[in-house]
């Protein structure tokens, strides 16, 4: 593995934190590249990224849905 690749390599455990943090703060440039490289090759984290966004939408709908009861 090239030194560059190694430098940007992150585990799913680390990436899941970045996926959540990205909803709260702008990521730094190194984290952004690391996240993108990881998502390119990792289906589980790509799904997690979608799951986090879905959960946010679901919380919004919960309120609206309950409003319509």
């Amino acid at each position: 593995m090239s030194t560059i690749r190694k430098f940007f390599k992150r585990s799913c455990r680390q990436v899941s934190r970045l996926i959540s943090d990205r909803e709260e703060r702008p990521l730094g440039p190194i984290d952004r590249v690391a996240l993108r490289l990881h998502l390119k090759v990792c289906d589980t984290c790509t799904r997690y990224e979608q799951q986090v966004k879905f959960m946010r939408r679901a919380m919004g709908s919960w309120k609206n849905y309950a409003d319509e009861e």
Binding site: S11, C12, R13, Q14, S16, R17, S20, D21, E23, E24, R25, D43, T44, C45, R47, Y48, Q50, Q51, V52, F54, M55, R56, R57, A58, M59, G60, S61, W62, K63, Y65, A66, D67, E69
Partner: protein, 186 residues
Amino acid sequence: MSDFARQVEVLRPQLLRFARAQLRNDAWAEDAVSDTVLAALEKPQSFAGGSQLKTWLVGILKHKLIDQLRRHTREIASSPDDDSELEDLVFVPDGHFRDRDQDWGNPEGALHERQFFVVLQACVDHLPPTQARVFMAREWLELDAKEICKEMSLSSTNLWVLLHRARLRLRECLQARWFAVAAAKD
């Protein structure tokens, strides 16, 4: 009791559900809802009637919930969640997700099912208290990170960790109680 008062009373249990989910303390939740109902009954004229009564009440409730969080900051801060082992449960030692096959397909359909929201609420209620308060404040009260840190006396890093853990937990819970069940039915 006036007609208006009766309509407000009918909505009390729903307001209480939200208040409990946000505050995780029955007495505080009762106080927030009572304050809401009082405020509503004192100023029925400010209910324009155009929006739904419940939407209007939820708008008042939000302020009362923030009041309660503010009032009880110290108690909340004095009992942080002990959830340091969560990540060792969700991830294997090499850093991969333990369960790599949680495919929710196209989950949007769930948002049209009443039962899904019952499960969602159960999953939120199942979070450790501080995670639940922070997550509800973020996603239900729709406060931004800065406001939550201020109202709950948290550092930003602390807040990010709490939201991260809440999301990991919710994913596990929704998978177990909804998506795995739905997949088994197909």
